[in-house]
């Protein structure tokens, strides 16, 4: 049985992650998502992080990030700067349940795509706008990136090594935070429409979604007037609690001791009965008082161990510990395999790409699981299906749109990003290592034939 959102049609004018990730998860669960893009303005996720780092040919159909964020969607190219393009969009909105976008309000107003405009076309439409700082307000037209909103929300300020400056993750983290909240928001609006027959406008501020997830720091300020210091990997209530070196190059393990039992188990596994017998470490409070000393002692012990083996031993004794997994560990992980977390996706034959696994969803629904996934569309892949099949355009009308580049199948000014060679990326330290037999390993692990 297919996902619970069958019959819901979403028109998505998204870019990068914040809206595309949310609409991907809704598409996974059965919604029909029509992803708009244009041949005039090539989205950067089609131009970078390319399969085999190959910028020749139709590289725009081989971008990792585009595939990652746009699974299970239909692709339509449309030039919205032209009347003909906007007319097609209006026709689509007339038959859509949801319109989702993450451009600045300035762009949306220029295209006359505000909620009140859409309501005239489809009175019960649900519109969701995702912006860095919110659709209204003095900063509303300021463009934003994930790191920028991680900063504005207060999260980056709190994060960092003890005694050091603020730090943030190296992926656009809050784009996902916003995307995850957007899935909830759209589902709430669909519930409301089920109850009342009414649509509405959802204004997602990526900053606000992130602030909603750091009440510990924000309330300490509003109530106690305190700004907490950066703690790195420490936890005020646990010791040891941190990330410790293991055998090998850039190998680590996270270990957290949350009880006396866990402490004694750690001493057993590390072969240090003398620690267990030492009264200075006899309870949580005393272990917290001796935090630095314990961290140094523990790091000296862990650094000869394999991080995965040590994790297994510690977990077997009830200690919450985890190897710091790199992407290869994560891809070839037995637990995720049993849970079928990664899903193999077939790419369009024109791309020359083999079937490859992609990360799935963080949820499973027992009675309404998702269908086997389809790859993100190559550029313009569903132009005809949508224009003729859904909107009833004639061959001649479609031909005109093609002729005038309102729709198309390739960017007008293609420019791909060729990254340095892998040897160079390893030399610069951007990649830890690379393998040459990876394709075989992926094929074997995921049982991909051919």
């Amino acid at each position: 049985m297919a996902g619970p959102l069958q019959g819901i049609r979403i028109v998505e004018m998204g870019q990068l992650i914040a809206i595309p990730s949310a609409m991907k998860w809704l598409a996974d669960m059965g919604a029909e998502v029509i992803r708009l893009e244009s041949v005039q303005r090539l989205e950067s996720y089609r131009t970078d992080s390319l399969y085999h780092n190959d910028v020749d040919g139709e590289f725009w159909n081989r971008g990792a990030n585009f595939y990652e964020q746009n699974r299970n969607k239909l692709g339509l190219t449309l030039d919205l700067s032209r009347d003909e393009g906007r007319e097609v969009l209006r026709d689509l909105i007339a038959v859509a349940d949801v319109f989702a976008e993450n451009f600045t309000p300035r762009v949306i107003r220029n295209f006359a795509l505000e909620y009140r405009d859409l309501m005239k076309i489809r009175p019960d439409i649900i519109m969701v706008s995702s912006t860095g700082y919110g659709f209204e307000g003095p900063w509303s037209n300021f463009g934003a990136t994930g790191p920028a909103t991680e900063g504005a929300a207060g999260l980056a300020y709190m994060t960092g090594y003890k005694g050091g400056g603020p730090m943030m993750s190296e992926i656009p983290y809050t784009d996902y935070t916003a995307g995850e909240h957007t899935v909830s928001a759209v589902m709430l609006a669909l519930m409301h429409r089920l109850n009342t027959g009414q649509g509405q406008f959802i204004d997602v501020s990526q900053t606000q979604t992130c602030s909603a997830t750091i009440p510990e720091a924000l309330l300490d300020w509003t109530v106690n007037g305190r700004i907490q210091e950066r703690l790195g990997n420490e936890d005020p209530a646990m010791s040891p609690h941190g990330c410790y070196p293991c055998a090998g190059d850039d190998r680590w393990i996270a270990i957290t001791i949350d009880s006396d039992e866990a402490w004694y188990a750690l001493c057993r596994v590390m072969g240090r009965p003398d620690w267990a017998a030492d009264a200075r470490y006899g309870d949580t409070l005393r272990r917290i008082q001796h935090r630095e000393e314990l961290d140094t002692m523990l790091a000296f012990e862990t650094h000869t161990h394999d991080n995965h083996e040590l994790m297994a031993k510690l977990q077997a004794e009830g200690v919450a510990a985890g190897a710091v997994m790199d992407s290869q560990d994560l891809l070839f992980n037995e637990h995720l395999k049993v849970r079928r977390f990664y899903e193999v996706v077939e790419h369009h034959p024109d791309t020359g790409m083999p079937p490859l696994p992609y990360a799935g969803r963080p949820w499973k629904l027992s009675e309404t699981p998702s269908d086997p996934p389809k790859a993100a569309p190559i550029m313009g892949q569903h132009n005809r299906e949508i224009l003729a099949g859904l909107l009833g355009k004639t061959e001649a009308e479609i031909g005109e749109l093609e002729e005038s580049n309102v729709i198309g199948y390739a960017p007008l000014t293609p420019r791909g990003v060729r990254r340095p060679s892998l040897d160079e990326q390893v030399r610069q330290g951007r990649m830890q290592r690379y393998e040459t037999n990876y394709a075989d390993r992926v094929r074997k692990w995921f049982g991909i034939g051919g």
Partner: protein
Amino acid sequence: MTSGALAGVKVIDLTHHIAGPYATKLLADFGADVLKIERPGGDPARRLPPFHHDDPHHEKSLPFLYLNTNKRSITLNLKSEEGRGILLELLSDADVLVENFAPRVMPSLGLDYETLREQNPRLVVASASNFGQTGPWRDYRATEIVEYALGGLMYIFGAYDREPLKHAMNQAQFKAGTNLASATLMALYHQRLTGQGQRVDVSIHESIASALRDVINNYTYLGAVRRRQPNHTGDLTRLRAVSDGYVLPNPGIGAGLNWQILVDFLDAPQLDDPRFDNASARLENAEALGAILDEIFATKQKRDIFYAAHEKRFIYGVIDSPAETIENPQIQARNYYQPVEHPELGEITFPGAPFLMSGSPWAVNSTAPALGQHNGEVLGALGYDARGMAYLAASEVI
């Protein structure tokens, strides 16, 4: 008067700590009737710091007060036969049961999915757990940092030459809580259409692992394993210290960058130098470039350079402390922070709506309930009189 999107939805909430309660908070703040069922000692999150005026009392944990807005609370010992019976009675007309125990707990209480479905086939049984309800790691123990490590976010987070780092606070829990709310709503939507309930299985671990951009693809597309990035001092988008804090510069990424625009914007003629005027030259002279940029930025002020940048549509960002976040004119204009009256503690200012809904708005009417605050009301409705309740209390069921 508009009502929340979930008016008429009845949720029985067995959750504790952070991930589960954040999910049911999202449901409650958008109108669902959420009944929180706590063990007689209370949700352990009642002991989470920081506390109101640093008083470590179980009604004064600030994260707890935030995570449990708009909910009612009863206490129930699910290990007792009567407690379990009362739960099953409450479930008979509920739409959703949400829990985030370790996966072995619900079956051990005789509350496996089959039993619950028999009681109420419409029931959505939604679970969040460290590693999901199945798989070889199902019973592994985890804390926040362990989820960061095993989820793949930690390896690429932090300084190149130091140990991997996690975000401050409890991001993995909140991510999973958000995903739990989303997945629960999908199952609820299906229930409203078909009358059919089902199980929802959310993994905190997978909540991290499903949000890593192209980190996995770097391997499947190229065979390369990404790591924490080196701190190239000349990196134009690197976080920079200014005189009163930090900014995140962003001159317009990519090959199209016109160096002269940057030189003019920063008013830094010393950058007008062949050592820096193209991408490869900048990489070559990264250290020199970094030193000059550090000097230039140190003379700037955070808000000034941020606003000046946005006049030119450069996507600069600011790193704001909690205090600055609350004073931010954008956040104030949107009335993001919301005062909520607590019966004992007075007014508390909370982070507000994560997103604004025009037709079914977010609303917080009450902070978290006191432990067992609604025992009388809820058990009374089930037909227990004062004597019955006294018996339940004496036998430690409530």
